[in-house]
Amino acid sequence: MVEEILLADDFVRQLMSVGEVDVLVGIPSFNNALTIANTVQAVEQSFQLGFARQRVVLVAVDGGSGDGTRDVVMNARTEKSSSGRGLTSLRTEQRVVTQYANAPSAGLALRTILAAADLLRAKACAVVSPATPNVTTAWITNLLEPVYRDKFDFVAPLYNRHKYDGLLSRNLLYPMSRSVFGQGIRELHPSELGFSGRLASHCLGQDVWNQGDIQDAPEIWMALTAISSDFKCCQAFLGTKERGTAGTAPDIVTAVRQNVGSLFWCLDADENFWMQRATPEAVPSFGPQSELTTEPMNLNRQRIYELFRSGVQDLGPILETILASDTMAEIRSVTAQSEEKCRFSGELWARTLFDFAASHHHAVLNRDHLIQALVPLYRGRIHSFLVEHQDSTAQQMEADTENLCVQFEKQKPYLVERWKAKA
């Protein structure tokens, strides 16, 4: 069977000219002309500051931008670093730009970057999002150094965030992946990450790249693959995660479909691994575990509550197919409470998610529909979260997150039981 050709001729020619490298930073882009120049500059300054002797390359992979993003990358000028020592790389700075497709695809973009890392035998790699407006030189260095110097294989970022941002990670992706896979990575779907050439080659060689479930959130698959294939993982604090330009963040439904879809797919693929995994391990961190800002944010809690209640009511028959009867009964009793008193506990949330995971595994109905049916329940959980933490400090929120993870870990046998039961 002839394998498909992934890399364009022009890209291969550019890689050929670059040759073997020590450090590679990839930037997947789509219509980021306004912000990508800053990202390019941050990357190349980090090369000058941290990797002056090493062979380095910046690889920009574009999904068919119409706003001239690729030209911006090629023409971006990097000032010498501001350290005052006039540091510059000893070697020719390499910058490679390619269009990997006519439409953006996170999976294809990541795969192209991994292919470049593999062909150039890069030792340390990072991926940086051009949509993050405040990427700094330190961010890049903090992602690369654990790989280059400390021989880690996967580096997930840690951010300073608002306490109400990243709730999908805090309430679902993190506790679930930590309890099931045994290693807790806070940002499972990061827009910045670091990895070794070894991990890149390993991931590139897996036969998953045509799976629709992971195309939109391939970083989740990569992180969980690193855990399940015994690669060394760590986390590195980067800085404040600023929101990107308006309209770039996915809405809640899309976010749930993409991320939970990818997570559940990984549960299926790595079932042998996580079933045997008993005790969770701590993931080494460089810098603080998390930082939260707690300034007030205007949120329409009432609406979230109503969407939760009406969602459970309207999707009742579907939810009954997915959830265990006692889980469903408990959820119904939660919806019967008033908005102030409505509480979707951590223990119930864990059981709900595990019911969904097991039902996804048994394909009790179309998998995408199943994941969409989770959205109202996720809203219920978020509503409870907002109510409980409206006056919480950062420490209190961290403690609560830890408790939630413990709840999930306690419920893991329940997941195993539901998973193994016949549909």
Binding site: M1, E3, E4, I5, V12, R13, M16, G19, L119, R121
Partner: protein, 546 residues
């Protein structure tokens, strides 16, 4: 790291051939021994080989360098004891190195107790273990192998007053394989060594086991029947062990020794070897392609053994007269270099110590289909001494360092079994393991690298071969293919830089990745693929679709 059980291990083997006498002397008697060899196993492991082929080390009058065996189930006292051999075998296995030993099945020494008994009387039970005749008229069609020293295949035995048959030296009477007792005895010998743990046998001179009137006494059906029976017993009682055939024949004739996968596991491809030397001298790929295209398919479980040099002369039996004359003129101008129908020189001197040519030939050895054999000393470019008798010029002591006796032995130099090579070009001061270990770009370092690269993929050991025929005949190019993966090999046989355009349409879209440096070359497109090569340069490209 221990030897792993794997039925087709010999296909992936990289064999190092040595005589224990030549390698390292531990007791300072001037002769290498098994304890000394054990001390050098780390060196061999570091080199990257995984199999050692030991030349005969059995008790022997040593009139044919040990191929005249006087006791099959012991170790010559010069080389140590059976216990020392066992210790060496265990140590080798612990390092993942398998051991092949010789089984000289065709003949024994006239000092062997069996022959002593056989000749003592015509009624002796072992009389029939050898081939006797009252006249020397029988088997007239059979050729003489050692033309330089023997006038006949019959020798007169004054003790029993009759002639006995010998295909080699007259002091090496042929065993009578028509006698089942001989078969049983030799199987017993094999069992002795197999029970000890050796991994295989190189069967010496096997085409000549049986003779029949009116035939040339080579490759007879009865010989094959005997060999099949030996193989059957081996597979039944010792699975995973290997038999290697020494049959200096044309490939079509050697093919029969593989049977249907029920005779030998491996056999030497003798005719390829002189043609590699010829091709480099002619600067023309024709001899190599011709002989490989004449080489028949062999069963999947079987494998050719290929080599550049060995302990014998570079045999020119399987070439035409024109080719032989050419080889003599180019590689053995001095008649002292010639013996029997061959050339008794080592690789480096034949290549005039040209590092590029040594690498080119080694590159071809490592990339052609078959299991490669490295002759001891060739990894550092050792020289030879054509003024020593017989083929002893290529069997001089291993050169370990520039010190006393080249680090081979602590004995007085006069006591050594053979003088160390000491001229300024190939002498031990110039060519030795220790100097080359300290040099990053020495021949030894390069040998380790090429073995490592070859070992990094099963394509070389298991793959098919497809010759490309670019218009530039000085370039030998072929594609090795295994399980949908390909390696492109391009060799410049010429002493001058060459350009070559290759038709790689079948591999369009693939990216050639040079295997030593890992660098990308331009993707294969519609047009012919242009490469330029320095004198004697070669490339190995992994073809990757991505």
């Amino acid at each position: 790291m221990a030897v792993e059980a794997q039925p087709l291990w010999y296909k992936d083997a990289i064999i190092y051939q040595l005589h224990v006498r030549t390698f390292c002397d531990s007791n300072n008697d001037g002769i290498g021994d098994f304890t000394g060899l054990l001390q050098k196993l780390d060196y061999l492991q570091e080199l990257g080989i995984n199999t050692i082929w030991l030349l005969p080390f059995f008790p022997s009058p040593l009139r044919d360098d040990g191929y005249d065996i006087a006791d099959y189930t012991s170790v010559h006292p010069n080389y140590g004891t059976l216990d020392e051999f066992r210790a060496f075998l265990t140590a080798a296995h612990e390092r993942g190195i398998r051991i092949i030993i010789e089984l000289v099945a065709n003949h024994t020494s006239d000092q062997h107790p069996w022959f002593q008994e056989a000749r003592s009387s015509t009624n002796n039970p072992k009389r029939d273990w050898y081939v006797w005749s009252d006249t020397d008229d029988k088997y007239k069609e059979v050729r003489i192998i050692f033309l330089d020293t023997e006038l006949s295949n019959w020798a007169w035995d004054p003790v029993s007053k009759s002639y006995y048959w010998h295909r080699f030296f007259s002091h090496q009477p042929d065993l009578n394989w028509d006698n089942p007792a001989v078969f049983e005895a030799m199987w017993g010998v094999m069992q002795f060594w197999l029970d000890m743990g050796v991994d295989g046998f190189r069967l010496d001179a096997i085409p000549y086991l049986i003779e029949r009137e009116g035939t040339n006494g080579e490759n007879l059906p009865e010989t094959h029947a005997i060999l099949r029976e030996l193989r059957r017993l081996l597979d039944k009682q010792y699975p995973g062990k290997m038999l290697l055939a020494e049959a200096n024949q044309w490939p079509a004739d050697v093919r029969a020794y593989f049977g249907d996968g029920d005779e030998f596991h491996m056999a030497f491809h003798f005719p390829l070897m002189p043609r590699m030397f010829m091709a480099v001298r002619l600067e023309d790929r024709k001899p190599i392609i011709e002989i490989l295209e004449q080489t028949p398919q062999i069963p999947d479980s079987c494998q050719w053994c290929i080599f550049l040099r060995n302990h014998d002369e570079l045999t020119l039996e399987m070439v035409t007269d024109v080719e032989r004359d050419y080889m003599y003129d180019e590689y053995a101008k001095d008649k002292q270099m010639r013996i029997n129908l061959g050339i008794r020189r080592r690789l480096a001197p034949m290549m005039e110590n040209d590092r590029r040519r040594i690498e080119l030939l080694t590159g071809m050895l490592m990339s052609m289909p078959g299991t490669p054999i490295i002759y001891y000393g060739d990894e550092i470019g050792m020289g030879d001494n054509v003024y020593l008798g017989d083929r002893n010029g290529v069997r001089t002591p291993m050169q370990w360092n520039g010190g006393w006796n080249a680090g081979f032995s602590g004995a007085d130099p006069e006591r050594l079994y053979s003088a160390v090579i000491s001229n300024p070009v190939y002498g031990y001061a110039a060519i030795n393991v220790e100097s080359q270990r300290r040099t990053q770009h020495s021949l030894l370092a390069w040998m380790k690298q090429i073995i490592h690269v070859r070992d990094s993929t099963p394509i070389f050991s298991r793959g098919s071969i497809e010759f490309l025929r670019p218009s530039n005949h000085r370039v030998l190019a072929y594609v090795r293919c295994y399980e949908n993966k390909q390696v492109l090999v391009v060799n410049n046989l010429s002493s001058t830089a060459q350009a070559v355009e290759l038709d790689l349409q079948d591999y369009k879209g693939s990216i050639p990745i040079e295997m030593f440096g890992g660098n990308l070359f331009p993707r294969i497109g519609d047009a012919s693929y242009l490469l330029t090569l320095a004198p004697y340069q070669f490339f190995w490209f992994r073809l990757r679709r991505i």
